[in-house]
Symmetry: C2
Subunit: 338 residues, 2 copies
């Protein structure tokens, strides 16, 4: 990114008919978009897409989630039929939804409209050893990168990472604990709403997984292989590819920011292309955002995942683009400025 | 409002394909809209309008603002030409803008498209005595109520109170200090961006105004007459009329919530029809929200006024309406629920 463009964008923002800085974070968002797009001329409204990467998790067998594993597959059919939260919120925000099987435990080959890119039938149980091989992790990263590439070739110019995978707050808590150097208790929440007994099982699973695997915080790929997930790896590749192509990314909450944590470990400048859409209820999300130097645009107490918080935040980004490109300047409007 | 409808709406929300409560405040907003509209069936997307009430303030002569009084008139022409922040953000959110002269100091009779409803050529200086007579305050309230009535008759079903009036954070700080029982320092900020010298003048003006006028906190109309403003009175009438007709109101920040404070003093149930769109940088806004029991939907460090924060928040309300009406239920999607 070229930060001189940021100064030029700030001059334009300061020329608009409003007290300087009075549009707050809308101005910051517009400026960051100018920097990412490489120009301070008027911004066009983005054409966004959400890629929902689906995968299953061996650890789900240990009862760490409020839902059974079959819900991953059921929800994929819901995505494909357009009835899930991510579909509705993307429609409302003018974004398209693409669904990718990167690691669902079960045959999804007949699902109409699903992008078939299965690397494995779910991961192994992290409490017993590494959840996947290095080759599997790399394959999943490539699935994510190729998805970003295809979406960009289709004309999308803002990418939302989305996900579905029953049990996936557990690997995300594990990755966050390792990379942020925190204890499991400090980064673990109720996910989709596990009860107290489930929460105890989740904490025990996390502790065992970290004990058994001892992932090296300095090696993000090793962390992915040992305590990660296939959809997390895919989202990591998706974010890296978007950034490499100069395309902005709107992160959602705890799961997608885990992928950003891994992506940032592999390539720190990738984070310059990321916006944080929504600050999750999951406590681990705060540690992630601090580590990455990101601030969420919205805080609406959402904890659904799928990419839904990012979809809602797209509206605010659209508002930022609109003010940057459509407001009159002091000179144009004949208003007395400072 | 009928709170049994809220329970029915909650049952519908809990039947949708997501963990219960996982859409956070989107669910609360949908539920409140159901209660206001009086039914838990699917919600239609609203047709919103913003009414921007413009007026001038005698106290502006004392240098309490970063801008000269002439900017009120200049900005009205900017609103009418569609180039101001409120125009751009309302367009982005699918809302129309109407502009009303309720008390501009100067002849605006030739302004095309401006709704002519001038009650006085600005208010008097609050540091010398009451800013307006009781008749003027009541006339301005009627202007606001009639505006709401006309907009509702035109088919709008969600109303945003907007405003323009150089110097108007000073009367709003005065009203807030009186009604919330706080000292001027506790409710006063930089408004559109006054410097340190201006801030001292503003504080001195506020203290003098409260000393000279001694408004009775228990009498909201007296507070309006002594230290209020014509656009604040109009917004108060606008909110009361919307609530009386069962139409939801999306409040903006410090100025429009001041009007809600007066409206709530006159008719507490009016606040049940209000959403708080944006939590302002102005410190007095927090005291107002606490008094009214409202929580802002957005916190984007905006401090422009005009109704802009409410316009951005309309997008979130639209997202809430969309999830309530368009998401599939567990039964419809064949997903295993709790």
């Amino acid at each position: 990114p070229d930060y001189a463009i940021g100064q030029e964008a700030q001059r334009r923002l300061d020329s608009l008919t409003k007290p300087q800085g009075s549009l707050g974070r809308l101005e910051d968002i517009a400026k960051q978009l100018c920097i990412i797009r490489g120009g301070a001329a008027k911004l066009a409204q983005p054409k966004p897409a959400a890629a929902v990467f689906a995968a299953d998790h061996g650890v789900a067998a240990g009862g760490v989630s409020a839902y059974p594993q079959e819900v991953t597959q059921q929800m994929i059919y819901n995505f494909l039929a357009g009835g899930a939260g991510i579909n509705v919120l993307c429609r409302q925000a003018g974004a398209d939804v693409w669904v990718i099987d990167v690691g669902v435990a079960g045959d999804m080959s007949q699902a109409q409209g699903l992008i078939q890119a299965k690397v494995a039938h779910g991961t192994a149980d992290m409490t017993k050893g590494p959840v996947m091989t290095m080759n599997q992790a790399l394959d999943a990263i490539v699935v994510g990168a190729q998805t970003a590439q295809r979406l960009i070739e289709k004309g999308y110019d803002l990418l939302i990472p989305g996900e579905m995978g029953i049990g996936n707050t557990t690997p995300c808590s594990a990755i966050t604990a390792v990379i942020c150097g925190l204890r499991p208790e400090q980064v673990m929440g109720r996910g989709t709403g596990v009860d107290d007994a489930g929460l105890s099982r989740k904490l025990a699973a996390l502790k065992t997984a970290l004990d058994v695997n001892k992932p090296d915080p300095a090696n993000p790929l090793e962390v992915l292989c040992k305590v990660g997930g296939l959809e997390i790896a895919a989202m990591c590749g998706y974010i890296l590819e978007a950034a490499a192509r100069g395309v902005p990314v709107m992160l959602d909450g705890f799961i997608s920011t885990t992928a950003a944590l891994v992506a940032g470990g592999l390539c720190p400048t990738a984070i310059d292309y990321c916006f944080s859409g929504h600050g999750s209820v999951e406590i681990g999300h705060r540690a992630q955002l601090e580590k990455l130097g990101l601030r969420p645009i919205l805080t609406l107490e959402m904890r659904l995942g799928e990419g839904t918080g990012a979809a809602v935040a797209m509206n605010v980004l659209r508002a930022a683009v609109a003010i940057y490109s459509e407001m009159a300047t002091f000179a144009e409007a004949g208003v007395t400025g400072h």
